[in-house]
């Protein structure tokens, strides 16, 4: 563009300027093609096919600080470039020009008089004879110093943005690792082996930062008895996780002291209430219980603090809730009452504890609550094949909810195998 002859004519219309306009036109017409070539606002050169410079204009010679006699017939185009430019010329520019007959807008640095680099934009075109034989290469060289400065700014900006992105990504990974460690500390790594009992569990976290508010555990409390609990802390994220951690450790410590379910929940209530009363009420719902083995079956003694009732899948295929009505949320009031219940797990029976993420999932086109009845019906429809099979079926159910499942969900199933293996037999 800049190489085009400047054709901007004077503004027409002004009567007294006609003479002046004519004078400008006359002087433009006297501006010879030779003059235009030599003094053009860009560099011009023509080279033989091997790069030897045959013709070069004054503008370019001035930029280079070279005498015409030292250049024409003595130097090649590549000799005018910096070393980096030379290598790029040989590996990219020259092959492209040979293949396509023209190359446009390639940035290369030329060496100027004071051994400086001058960024330039180079365009070359091969002139061919009438029978198509390449004869010479015509090249224009534009001063790209300012443009290159803008590009350098762009690149700097891009680099800074990339660096920031890398840093953010690294921070995110570090944070996720920390959160994963924290999350793992809220759940048992795996459930312990309990003689005569089969277990299963599942945890679905809905929050992107991996920190849920649901928790469960299973651990021995002496004399062959085992304690279990499952619960749900209000809220999500780091604050909820801190409450979860306190809750879990309090339940374990309280159970070792006295495993009576109501006593344990009372202790937790006191701890949470004392810790979180001042303006930042934190509470949870939980079921705590004890399993006592008794001649091929297990006695269950549990208590609930505001938590959805446990469900028992019986060996005969039926399923019923073990009601614990009236139990209060744990940690809200200084004194709370909790409801206890007892049951027996016979061979083939499975006790299921769950959090309300399951029953409050939204299903169907009307996004209705899944609900207690549906859960009981679903469980009754499963063959009584033990805790692991039930957990598998329920995790499949949870997956089928898709985005209707928007809360954390914990499942814990404890069951007595239908036919106890006789000693020495293969399991």
């Amino acid at each position: 563009m800049m190489c085009r002859t400047d054709q901007s004519a004077p503004e027409p219309g002004e009567e007294q300027d006609v003479d002046a306009t004519d004078a400008v036109f006359t002087s433009l017409l006297e501006d010879s093609a030779e003059e235009l070539y030599e003094q053009a606002p860009c560099g011009y050169l023509s080279t033989l096919m091997d790069g030897t410079i045959a013709k070069i204009n004054t503008t370019l010679l001035d930029w280079l600080g070279l005498e015409r006699s030292r250049v024409v017939g003595r130097m090649r185009f590549a000799d005018l470039l910096t070393v980096g430019g030379k290598l790029y010329h040989e590996t990219h520019f020259a092959p492209l020009l040979q293949m396509k007959g023209e190359v446009s807008g390639i940035a290369m640095d030329i060496k100027t008089a004071g051994k400086q680099r001058m960024p330039a934009l180079v365009t070359s075109k091969v002139k061919t004879s009438e029978d198509g034989e390449p004869m010479l290469i015509r090249t224009t060289v534009f001063d790209a110093r300012e443009r290159r400065a803008y590009e350098a700014e762009l690149l700097r900006g891009r680099k800074a943005a990339e660096e920031a992105r890398r840093q953010a990504e690294a921070d995110r990974i570090r944070l996720q690792e920390a959160l994963a460690v924290l999350q793992q500390s809220l759940l048992p790594p795996e459930l312990p082996e309990v003689p005569g009992l089969e277990t299963g569990s599942y945890y679905h976290t809905a929050s992107p930062d991996l920190l849920g508010g649901d928790f469960y555990d299973l651990f021995p409390v002496g004399s062959g008895r085992w304690a279990f609990f499952l619960g749900d802390v209000c809220g999500k994220g780091p604050q909820a996780a801190a409450v979860t951690s306190l809750t879990r450790h309090t339940l374990r410590a309280a159970a070792l002291h006295d495993a009576d379910p109501v006593t344990v929940l009372n202790t937790l209530n006191t701890v949470l209430h004392d810790r979180y009363t001042s303006g930042d009420t934190r509470y949870c719902t939980a079921i705590f219980g004890v399993l006592e083995p008794d001649d091929g079956h297990f006695g269950v003694h549990l208590a609930s603090g505001g938590h959805p009732s446990a469900l028992i899948q019986r060996a005969d295929g039926s399923a019923d809730y073990l009601p614990t009505p009236g139990g209060l949320l744990v940690g809200v009031l200084p004194q709370a009452s909790f409801t206890a219940a007892r049951a027996r797990l016979l061979p083939g029976d499975t006790l299921l504890l769950y959090t309300d993420g399951l029953t409050e999932a939204r299903t169907g086109p009307d996004r209705e609550l899944y609900g207690d009845d549906a859960l009981r019906a679903f469980t009754a429809a499963q063959p009584p094949a033990g805790p692991k099979a039930l957990i598998t079926a329920l995790s499949g159910l949870l997956a089928s909810f898709g985005d209707g499942l928007d809360d954390d969900t914990a499942l814990l199933a404890l069951g007595v195998p239908a036919a106890l293996p006789t000693p020495g037999a293969k399991v």
Partner: protein, 273 residues
Amino acid sequence: MDGKLAGMDIRRRNNVTVTGRADGPVLLLAHGFGCDQNMWRLVVPALAESYRVVLFDYVGSGRADPSAWDERRYSSLEGYAQDVLDVCEELDLRDVTFVGHSVSSMVGVLAAAKAPQRLSRLVMVAPSPCYIDDEEYRGGFSAEDIDELLESLESNYLGWSAAMAPVIMGNADRPELGQELTTSFCATDPDMARVFARTTFLSDSRQDLKTITVPTLILECRQDVIAPREVGAFVRDAIPGSRLVTLEATGHCPQLSAPQATLAAITDFMGAA
């Protein structure tokens, strides 16, 4: 890693093209830094009359599958040599004459050392085993020169070609630009090109030349900034029994600037070997 590579479609990965006489002796043409298999377009038609001609793009160049890029692998010439061996294995090529341009000559040396049963002749087009001067050795460039090239690659690629700008600025939302790029010659992802440049110009394969036992033809240009005459002589002296032919050509790409002379030299070598 190996399993993944074995499972990949090498033909697609390396944009392999097979042409010419199906029963002819095999010529495997390998491009150097800066372009892709298009570099051979002026000599392929004539070669195809007598030979089975196999062309490919190294991963990171031309139309090779960019998802196969692995910066660590392609930071050494061995990585590129593995591309050659992968292609040979995929097509079960044997008794191949490997024609490597520029840095590919050294890639061919590494590949031939690993699989002599596959690569039985080498043609080196404008080779240089080391670009940087080192005591008695004249590679043609100082370490500072090469640094300058790599730095200009680093700082300058935005302007090298208007066609590259969409790549740099991200053209996900303007697919028509990407389309144009993939159809233009020698379009390269600038990040991958930088790695290839670094690997190429910082490599020193002088010791590897001694391992060559297969018949070798060296083609040099009368005037070549990148691989000067002294380097051609060095390569000839380092490979016992090799032949050096000086082409009446200027520049670093005689297959483009002097295709007839290049063809004649290759055909002559094939007849003699």
